[in-house]
Every structure is written in C-alpha cells, then in structure tokens.
Amino acid sequence: MYQVEEFLNPGVLAAVLIFLIPIILFPIILLLGKKFEKFRRYSGILATSGIFISFLLSYYLYSLNESFYYQNGWFYNFTWGVFVDPLSIAMAMMVSGVSFLIHMFAIGYMGKDPNRHVYFAETSLFTGGMLGLVLSSNMVMFFLFWELVGLCSYLLIGFWWFKPNAASAAKKAFIVTRVGDVLLILGLAVLYWSLLPVIKTGDPLSIYNILKYANIVPKDQLALAGALVLGGAAGKSAQFPLHVWIPDAMEGPTTVSALIHAATMVTAGIYLVARIYPVYLYAAPWAGYLVLYVGAFTAFLAGTMGLVMNDIKRILAYSTISQLGYMLSALGLGIVASQYTISISIYHLIVHAFLKALLFLTAGAILYSLLDIRDIRKMGGLWKRMPITITAMLIGALTLVGFPPTAGYFSKDEIISLSYYFSEQNPGIYYAWILLLIGAFLTTLYTFRMFFIVALGKPKSYAAENAKDPPWVMLAPIVILSIFSLIYGIFQEGFYKYIGNFEFTLPLYIEILPFILVLFGIYIAWLFYGSSRFSAQNFARKSGFAYRIVKAKYYLDYLYTNIIADRLIVYLSYVVALFDRYIVDGFVNGIGKSFNYLASITRRLQTGIVQNYATFVIIGLIVFLILGKIMGVI
C-alpha cells in the first residue's frame, strides 16, 4: 500500500475512469434518448458497452497487481480519491462483470419499454455509483456514492412510476435506508472526532488513515462508531431490523432486482464493514458480537419468511436477505475471534452475486414469457417448456443451497464451518453456529419449494402452458452466469490468497453436516412439493399460530408502516400542524387582536366633535398650570 502523488498515473486514471464512464453515460443517454426517439433502442447497447469498458479497466487494475491510493483535497479537511487494494479490485470486477451481464439481459428484457433510455441511463448511473463506492478513498466520498446508489435504487424501484405499489415501495425503500444512512453519518462523526486527535493533520475519514490508526483509538469510541456504521450497513444490506424494504422493492423491473437488490447494491453494507474492518477489530468486543448476531439472526429470520411467500421475486428477496446475513456473520466471526476473515465473507459475496443474478435473471425470463405473472402457484411444469431457463435455475438453486461441486458449497459451508471452528475457542459464538446451520436448512427448503412448484407438475395458468425460452440476448447472460456458478469454486484458494488468507481445519463430520442438512431439506421439499405425498396447506393449517406470524412477516412491516408511520408519525404531524396554527400562530395573532381590542376601546375618546377636543386641551392646560403652581415651577 503506497500513496500515488500525481493524478496522471495510469492506475489512478484507470480507477477514476472505471466509475466515471458509467456516470457520464447517464446524462448522455438521457439527453440523446429525449432528443431522438430513434436513439432509444441503442441506449441499452451504449450503456452495456460503457460498463464493459469499466470491466476491462477493472481487469487492468487487477493485472497491475498493486495496492495504492490517491487522494486530493475536497472540502474542509476531507479528501477525495481512489483506494485500490485486492478487496476493492475484487468488488469492482464483480460489480462491473455482473452489471455487464445484467445490462445485456436487459437489452432484451426492457426492449419494448417506451422509456428504456431512462432505464439504461439510471442503471448506468447506478453501476458508476457502485464502482465509485468500492473505489472511494474517503468515507465522505464513500457516503456520496452510497447515497447515489440508494437514489438509483429509489428511482429504479419506482421506474414504473404509474403503478401505485411501485411508488409506495420506492418511498419505503428510501426512507428505511435513510434511517440507516443517518446512523452511518453519526458513525462517521464519531470516527472523525476519535481519529482527529490521533492523526494530527490530514483527513480523519480517509480510509487509509482509518485502517492505519484504528489500533490507537480508544476502544469504546471505536465500538460506538462501529455500531452506528453497522446501522448504516444494516439499512443498505437489509439486515434485521431494517430488512423490510427489499421484498417491497421487487415492484421494480426484474433486472433492477437482479442488479441492485440482489447482486450489487445490497452488498455495499457488507463491503462497508469489510472496508473498515480494523475499526471493529480493535473495538470493544460487544461491537463484534453485534455484527455477528445481527448477521446470524437475519440469516435465520429471513429463511423462515422465505418459506411462506408465493411471489417468486419475494422468495428470492428473502433469500438475498438471508445470504447477506451469512456474509455479515462471517465478518462478525472474524471480529469476535480477532482474525481476518474478510476473504471468506467477500468470497461468499461474489458467489452470491453470480448465483442470485442468475436466479433473478431466470425469474425475469419466466416473467418475460409468462407476461409478468409472479405468483408461483400459477406456474408449474415449466421445465418442459423452458428447458434452458429452468436448468439454469436448478444450477442457481443448487449453488444457493451449497450443493457440492457448485461454488456455493465452497463459500457458504465455509462460513458455517468457520463459526463452528471459532465456537470451540469462544463459546459465545456457539449460538451463531446453530442459527447459521438452521438457516442453511431453511435455505434448502424454500429454494427447492420454489423450484419444485415452478418446474414440475402441471401448468396452472394459460400463460404457463404457452411459455417458452426467451431470445439469445437474454439467454447468453444466464448461461454465462450458470457456468460461473458451477465452476467458481475452483478459484476459492486463489481468491483467499488474493484477499488475505485464513486457514483452518475441522473434523469431517462437522464439515459435512451442512451438506447432510441440504440433502435432508431437498428430500422434505420433494415430499411436500415435488410429489404430492404431503400437503403443504394441511401442514400450514395445523401449525396455525406460528404460520400466521411468519406469513405476516413477524408483524414488523405492520409495526413500521401501520403503527409507526401511519399512526404515530402522521397523527403526531397533524397535532403539530394544529398546534402551529392555533397555538403558535394563534399567539401571534392574539397579540395583534388584543392591541386591536385595546384600540377599539381607547379610540372612543376621539368623538370627532371639535369642541370636545378643545375642552380636553383647556382642561389639560389648566391641570398643567395648577401642577406647575403646586410644584413651584411657574
């Protein structure tokens, strides 16, 4: 890690261009599309090629094989710049690569939308923002891009703005992530003031300084900063209790869900925690436990909710939340055990990006041919009709549950094993292992429930009977992502070495335990949904109360939306508005009115008869004269 002083350095220029190219494409595509109706059909190609250039530049950075940072003054003592190390390069390559494939898919998927130039402009801006986020050298700049991707998420969820659901989901996503964001601002404030006395000069929020000086900052300060930053990460990465926005965000186009709400943006929170990892590492221990248990609990909780959803995209959304929980708990494990486990978490992040993009794109392909039917109960028997798509979906599903030789086996099971490994030395982690293990079982259950209902059986709607595979421009990304999902496991060792290795060994029966659970889970899912041996409806009816709670998403949505937002905040605002009008303004008007009233009394003295005035003058004169005489003035 060294500092590059001059801006015109190939590495720095490449790093800046990586995020600048897609961002500059935003106004270009928007204006061209607005000006020339004919251009709109090429907007997708332009955006896709721009992002491909970013990908090539990321690869160039990778081939440089160097870690460096560049920073320059921005405002006050904050700087802007780029921070290039294996972690950010890995993220940049993943983001640009996955984004490229999803853009390619979207050329077909969004091909008939009249406003596709807006769509591609916004996704291009999003990709630029995400790449800027991973390459930022400073937390303020990081936060800028952090909100930029949040903005794009808001705009793209509401891309079909005329749908009331989309407009309201966009609002919800923005406000919920905003709660996290303000916590992140406070976290940065704590970091700023705790690093300022340590570094003397320079930018306290520069990532380089944070990494370098975290070990000499008071532990309590770091823990507080870490907890607040975790709040921000939880908002963006949809961790409990701020996970409620992702399922609603599925109202946007499926490609948006794939790009933003599965593969890239939602991992920003994980990346944030990994980026300032030393802050947690040197903090008071409770911060680490917080990270670990927020992650592990979310992994478990989201899994249960995924079981009862019927909307194909929402199942995938809960699955995303659950997997993000795994990534976060992998980081938490390392923090609690004081080890560098970033590589394990980020490896799962990247594998998850591939497989979740794959699953969402296959879901998109299904929606494309089923004319936007999203209820899995209306699908069925699609394997015969869309063989390539559903096969890819099977690959995605197997990767998601971590079936051996797929990449998921190397990434997710590694996290579960890691939690067991650490819990041997630190019993406090033991519960995390159990939660993660159950989570893995639930993952299998809901994934294959979805898969069996969608792929097997008889078609349950007219659209499902006539489904067929989408055109090649949409199939190609699906196939590429399937291949990645299948073979990415072989890069595991290399990836760990690249980011920073952490090795451990475990007895075989622990290593194999998740796999056994997966097989068991697939079998149960088969019993319920593949064959009709058991009826899921009966089971749901029997479990009664538990089913109702899970189906109602643990009433968290109800609490946030109906109680806090609609009742508490809105009614409070009415009270405040009335208070403002009748008490505060009433007081002001009251003063005016009281003067008016006083005047209405005193003005009666002005009779309008001149002689009365004269009388007063004379009486006044006489009184003055008498007074003057008494006081001896005259």
Binding site: R604, T607, G608, I609, Q611, A614
Partner: protein
C-alpha cells in the same frame, strides 16, 4: 386715562365669553363669532399692555393679528360653504364623519 385693570377685565370677560362659545355652540357661524371674540380679547389685551408700557410694536402686532383674523374668518366661511354643499347644513355634528 382708563386704568389698565379695567381694560384687562373687559378682555378677560370677552375671552371667557369666547371660550364658552367655542366649547358649546352647535352652529358654524356662532363658532366663527366666538373665535373672533377670542382673538379680539387677545388683541385688546395686547393693545392695553402696549399703551401701558408705551411700546408701539405691540400695536403693530395687533394690526397683523386683525388681518390674520379676517383671513381666518374668510377661510372659515369658505369651509362652511363647502360643508353646506355637501350636507345641506353647517352644524358641527356633520363634521364627525372621519372619527373612527
């Protein structure tokens, strides 16, 4: 020569009559007459003193004052003529329109 005090007493009596007049009368013409009496009582007073201390500047001022009184009476009459055109009367009550 009439003693000063007699003249001053007459002046005071005239002043009182004039004052009473402007405070009580209801008609415009009477008001003007009262004002004239007031002004003339003051004139008388000044002339008496001027003669008493043998200074002619007081008499000069009284001449000025008489001229002003005439002008003032003319203006007063003009106002009342204008008022009469508006209200068909010159009662002082009709001047109360601007009060509140």
């Amino acid at each position: 020569m009439i003693p000063l005090i007699y003249v001053l007493t007459v002046s005071l009596m005239m002043f009182t009559v004039g004052l009473y007049g402007i405070l009580t009368v209801k008609g415009g013409i009477r008001l003007l007459i009262s004002i004239e009496i007031l002004v003339n009582s003051a004139n008388l007073n000044i002339v008496a003193w001027a003669v008493n201390i043998a200074d002619s500047s007081g008499i000069m001022f009284v001449l000025l004052s008489i001229a002003i009184a005439a002008a003032e009476a003319a203006i007063g009459f003009a106002i009342f003529v204008a008022l009469y055109r508006q209200t068909k009367g010159i009662g002082l009550k009709s001047l109360m329109d601007l009060r509140w």
